[in-house]
């Protein structure tokens, strides 16, 4: 039977969490005030050697940026209007997206499609996907849990992802998106709280490349599911992660930007 708890992310306005933790440097406000539920059961003492079908771990470099995905998305009239409005803003000189100017988390699908490599770390019942860009980690839960209820406090720029293996293919289902960050979707459209994404991760070429088929649906944005495929190359094993250093306080860097535009452009 499930236990219903109130983890931090669901119960405290998100900015207050970092605000308080950062303001007091974690010294004055004890974490006891923000306690989640703790496990009573013991963890496994040793690793099981019964592996998942494949190990996706490693650094992966996308071969063709998702910005180059053909604009094939079939958009609703409202989505088309927002896209055109965003294009007009850009044509008028507002070339910097809001998320970029203000160093917001980029979120999905931006973090999967840009030039710096992504790092996949595959654990026993969870896969982390880590990006160099300013973003939260993607957590893909493999333990059979359901998506949480789509309440406003359960929305994230990366959404909530659960995965399972179909043979050698990892199928990842993601919901609970927010509309913050870089919301443009390759090929047209944009992410909203009603978006639903299914991805199929598959290793190719003896594990030296990886293909991800992404399919988005959203009744508010697409008139039919929108799919595209991305291919990644595995980088050498001595590759290591860099850190993004976006500084929103550097106003001079944006002084000639002409203002920021909305983020509906892919």
């Amino acid at each position: 039977m499930p236990v219903h708890c109130a983890p931090v992310s669901r119960s405290i306005p998100r900015q207050r969490v970092i605000l308080l933790s950062g303001l007091l440097l974690g010294l004055l406000l004890g974490p006891s005030l923000l306690s989640p539920c703790f496990a009573d059961s013991a963890a496994p003492a040793t690793a099981s050697t019964a592996a998942a079908p494949v190990d996706l771990s490693g650094f992966w470099q996308i071969k063709v940026f998702t910005a180059a995905v053909p604009r094939t998305a079939k958009l609703t009239p409202r989505a088309m209007a927002l896209l055109q409005a965003s294009a007009r803003e850009m044509a008028s000189g507002k070339v910097i997206p809001y998320f970029s100017r203000w160093c917001n988390f980029v979120g999905m699908p931006f973090l999967m499609g840009q030039s710096p490599p992504i790092n996949i770390v595959q654990g026993s019942d969870e896969i982390l996907i880590l990006a160099e860009q300013n973003s939260a980690a993607r957590h893909i839960y493999l333990d059979g849990r359901p998506h949480p209820a789509p309440t406003p406090l359960e929305r994230r720029t990366d959404g909530h992802s659960v995965g399972h293996w179909q043979g050698d293919v990892l199928v990842v289902d993601t919901t609970n998106f927010s509309d913050d960050g870089a919301i443009g979707i390759p090929g047209g459209g944009y992410r909203t709280p009603t978006s639903h994404l299914v991805e199929r991760f598959q290793l190719l070429s003896g594990g030296q490349s990886m293909q991800i088929e992404s399919t988005w649906d959203d009744p508010n944005v697409f008139t039919e599911p929108h799919s595209y495929t991305s291919t990644y190359e595995k980088l050498p094993p001595d590759t290591y992660a860099y850190e993004d250093a976006c500084d929103a306080s550097d106003a001079a860097a944006y002084s000639r930007s002409g203002g920021t535009r909305s983020d509906h452009m892919p």
Binding site: V8, I18, P36, C37, A45, E132, D244, A248
Partner: protein, 243 residues
């Protein structure tokens, strides 16, 4: 087996006992298991002693670092080590075959602890970062992590006093205790510019119930309410926004 909740400002309401499922499979590895999961600090988690600072560290220097830390928070910049390990929300540790990753909800890059290499990249190519470059090695059931390659950006404050610099080095020891319910992490910082002697402290993390979902601390430095709360001045150079 079941999960229980801690009472605090946010009360966790346990509506029923939960059967703890058996562990899922792991990628093939010779490493001991068990670090994977969400881990939270609690009121009794910190064992921190005051750091013995180098005589060369002046009050002005400490004040400059604290001011810089506040700037980082105000502008939602990545905090880095060691504050990332003090997140009030649970840390997510995923133990892979060649890397242990630690993800925090704070604005910060994840920590990458490489298990498949013995030396960091050469100084001529290694780009210093807030989290540094971490190499891990198992000694029995204990994971030792050595981190170099720090920069002086982000929140640099060290628990107990002092601050992280480009010459800081950190050694951590990760050890499961109480049959894997708890994770003891001992941190030892050295830095000839800041610390007169190695500075050691320990945190004890508690394993969070398995169905916990990671949250996201979305931080927007253009949030005027937040800005006003943190500082007396609004965000500079604010332009009309289309959002």
């Amino acid at each position: 087996m079941r999960a229980h909740c801690m009472l605090g400002l946010l009360a966790c309401v346990a509506t029923a006992a939960a059967a703890q499922e058996p562990p899922a499979t792991m990628p093939a590895t010779n490493a001991p298991a068990g670090l994977t999961g969400f881990w939270a600090l609690r009121f009794d988690s910190r064992n921190v002693v005051p750091a013995v600072l180098s005589p060369s560290v002046t009050p002005d220097e400490i004040a400059r670092h604290l001011s810089a830390d506040r700037h980082v928070i105000r502008w939602c910049q990545p905090v880095g080590m060691p504050l990332v390990m003090e997140s009030s929300a649970p840390l997510d540790i995923v133990q892979g075959a060649t890397q242990v990753a630690i993800a925090s909800q704070m604005p910060s890059a994840a920590r990458h602890i490489y298990l498949d290499r013995r030396t960091p990249p050469g100084a001529d190519i290694l780009e210093p970062t807030r989290n540094g470059f971490s190499i891990g090695e198992w000694d029995g059931q204990t994971l030792f992590v050595h981190t170099t390659g720090f920069d002086d950006q982000g929140v640099t404050h060290l628990p107990g006093g002092g601050f992280r610099t480009a010459t800081s080095e950190l050694t951590e020891r990760y050890q499961l205790v109480d049959q894997g319910r708890e994770l003891e992490v001992t941190f030892t910082w050295t830095d000839p510019k800041v610390l007169q002697q190695p500075h050691t402290y320990a945190f004890r993390y508690y394993r969070v119930a398995r169905d916990f979902n990671a949250g996201e601390s979305f931080c927007d430095p253009n949030d005027q309410e937040r800005s006003a709360f943190l500082t007396s001045s609004p965000a500079p150079a604010r332009m009309p926004e289309s959002r």
